[in-house]
């Protein structure tokens, strides 16, 4: 219902935001980062992934069409007080923020990201999908290695103004900015060792104690992956963070 209303009522505004290009990611096997007896390589069927992260301008369309996701109306269970705090108001990113219209939307919760993808008949990528897509070799890359590039990004403070999408590198699948711009939500961000139970089991120790966990990871020297998994492990679904955004997939 909301979708129909949106299409009819905001056709003109929608023109300004072109439809996200979806890029094909071929089928592959994902080797889980944390190795346990139950964590076998996961076969991932081919899927399509958003060429870039969802931008502020795109997310604004979503918020316009879905009043329950406006900053002043959102349920605190689904988004904490930082939700869209960088916007001027409910329905305006703000003239002063012009530079970030085309930058990834951040300060969005998992619930908000998932709702956005659903609205587009898409989903958030699973960890397996995201990691597989991000593994593709970069095109025209000036860094020694991808890990090197990621570590360099990780060890620099957040920039004052978040750059636009497509401002880092494109990988061989055609995906932009898989690293180097923002962190991205994944569908199963807090269950990365296969268990849905996030507390009180033996496997859980691996994610909380990464020192101990170091004995059980796929590649101990992959510090970039370590950082990603630690970051995901500290999240809750309603957290809204200044360097955390998302992109959608279509299976």
């Amino acid at each position: 219902m909301t979708t129909i209303f949106f299409c009819a009522g905001n056709a003109q505004k929608k023109m300004a935001v072109s439809e996200m290009k979806m890029v094909a990611v071929p089928a592959g096997n994902y080797q889980p980062f944390f190795i346990t007896p139950n964590n076998k390589p996961i076969p991932v069927p081919a899927f399509k992934m958003g060429e870039t992260a969802v931008t502020n301008a795109e997310f604004l369309e979503f918020v316009k069409a879905n009043p329950e996701w406006r900053r002043s109306k959102v349920n605190r269970l689904f988004a904490d007080t930082n939700y869209l705090r960088h916007w001027k108001s409910d329905l305006s990113i703000g003239e002063a923020n012009k530079k970030i219209y085309n930058s990834p939307v951040v300060n969005v919760s998992w619930f908000a990201a998932e709702a956005y993808c659903k609205w587009k008949n898409k989903k958030l990528p699973t960890i397996a999908q995201w990691e597989l897509a991000a593994k593709a070799a970069p095109k025209n890359f000036k860094y020694k290695s991808l890990t090197d590039f990621i570590l360099d990004w990780y060890t620099k403070p957040n920039p004052k103004v978040l750059p636009n999408v497509k401002s880092t590198y494109q990988n061989e699948y055609g995906l932009y900015d898989m690293n180097g711009l923002i962190w991205e939500w994944t569908f199963n961000f807090n269950s990365f060792i296969g268990s849905r139970d996030s507390r009180g089991n033996d496997e859980d120790e691996l994610k909380n104690f990464c020192a101990g966990g170091a004995l059980n990871v796929a590649d101990k020297s992959d510090y970039a992956a370590f950082l990603r998994f630690s970051y995901r492990g500290s999240l809750k679904g309603n957290f809204c963070i200044a360097n955390l955004g998302f992109r959608c997939v279509k299976n």
Binding site: N82, T147, L151, D152, Y154, T155, K156, P157, N158, N208, F209, C210, A211, G213, A214, S221, Y223, F226, L227, F229, S230, Y231, G233, S234, L235, K236, F239, I241, A242, N243, L244
Partner: protein, 354 residues
């Protein structure tokens, strides 16, 4: 292991509980016979008598000795901050810190205190962070309770059971990177009755750093994973910067005074051979614990460990405090200084003419 695999039948027959009881009794017994006065929890006063907020200081300063004599609930809040700061005169580095400095804020509590601990992660942070305080008995030394995303905070409490000087550090994976970027500090648990009074107390913490560029290479330097894995640092520093504690920034003291240093070693890799050039440690609380060694020239401070050392200032001089793995002092920055002012004492030291 055998007990576990035969759990069913053993439990049924009641043998396992018996075994457990026996081993527990033995454990209690062995504890009692081996423990020193300070480690025996049954002798610690644990009834809380109010709430205080811990004084937190930045190195080289140390919070004032505690004046209360019965256990308190002690409120402590640390904030993790990622920050570009100079590591030498020409180089900058993106430090990850507890409180915006390397080392992190010094925390001082008393044995028996219940520490109410909040970890905040600054909203501007790129990383998640956590804390493992070696003074904590409990899962991960607090790390289990404090995995903290940017802009969020976490909260736990612990009882300070054992007196001593303890390292704290970030325990978020990859732990070595968080430590290599400067995420460590010290927490002192004063014994009941406090430490003996001295004239001055200071805070020093050693750490090794690994950068893409060489020592003092100009500009913002990135972390070098290859050098870190090879344990081959470009910098070995006291208090996070070349010359942080020398020349105009040297520690000061006067002839006749006793100086106590709380010295930690954050690592991540190197062990410190901590030595005062032109002085002798009159007392060393070895490894930051309760055993005291006297008349020591050089004391080992392990990575992730600490020591409390004391010296009596006898003559005017500049005491160079070094890691006596001496290339580190000459070439990598591992020097701090105490400037001692006062009258000469020829009966102790005199430079003679030919």
């Amino acid at each position: 292991m055998i007990q576990v695999s035969k759990k069913g039948p053993l439990l049924k027959s009641g043998i396992l509980p018996l075994l457990l009881m026996l081993s527990f009794t033995f454990f209690m017994f062995s504890c009692k016979t081996n423990s020193g006065n300070n480690a025996d929890e049954s002798k610690i006063d644990t009834i809380l008598t109010g709430t205080v907020t811990a004084e937190l200081t930045t190195a080289p300063n140390v919070p004032k000795p505690l004046t209360y004599t019965s256990p308190k609930r002690v409120m402590v809040q640390l904030e993790t901050i990622e920050k570009v700061m100079p590591i030498s005169d020409s180089s900058e580095y993106t430090f990850w810190t507890f409180g915006g400095h390397v080392p992190g804020n010094f925390i001082r509590v008393r044995q028996g205190d219940l520490v109410d601990f909040t970890l905040k992660n600054a909203p501007e942070s790129k990383m998640s962070h956590s804390i493992d305080l070696h003074a904590v008995i409990g899962p991960g030394g607090g790390a289990d309770a404090t995995s903290t995303a940017p802009g969020q905070s976490t909260h736990f409490q612990f009882r300070a059971l054992h007196p001593g000087l303890y390292v704290y550090h970030c325990a978020t994976g990859p732990v070595p990177l968080h430590i290599a970027n400067g995420m460590y500090g010290l927490i002192l648990v004063e014994p009941q009755g406090g430490l003996p009074k001295v004239d001055r107390e200071y805070y020093l913490m050693q750490g090794d750093f690994y950068t893409k560029g060489k020592y003092n290479a100009p500009g913002l330097q990135d972390f070098d994973e290859t050098k870190a894995l090879a344990e081959n640092p470009d910098y070995v520093l006291f208090n996070g910067k070349v010359r942080s504690t020398t020349g105009p920034n040297a520690l000061t003291a006067k002839v006749g005074e006793t100086v106590r240093l709380f010295v930690g070693n954050g690592g991540p890799n190197l062990i410190s051979s901590f030595h005062p050039i032109g002085q002798i440690f009159t007392k060393v609380y070895m490894e930051g614990g309760t055993e005291i060694n006297r008349d020591v020239q050089t004391t080992l401070i392990p990575a992730g460990g600490a020591a409390i050392v004391e010296m009596k200032m006898q003559v005017p001089e500049v005491i160079n405090l070094v890691d006596h793995s001496i290339f580190r002092a000459f070439n990598k920055g591992a020097i701090a200084q105490i400037k001692v002012a006062g009258a000469e004492n020829p009966s102790i030291y005199e430079k003679l003419k030919k």
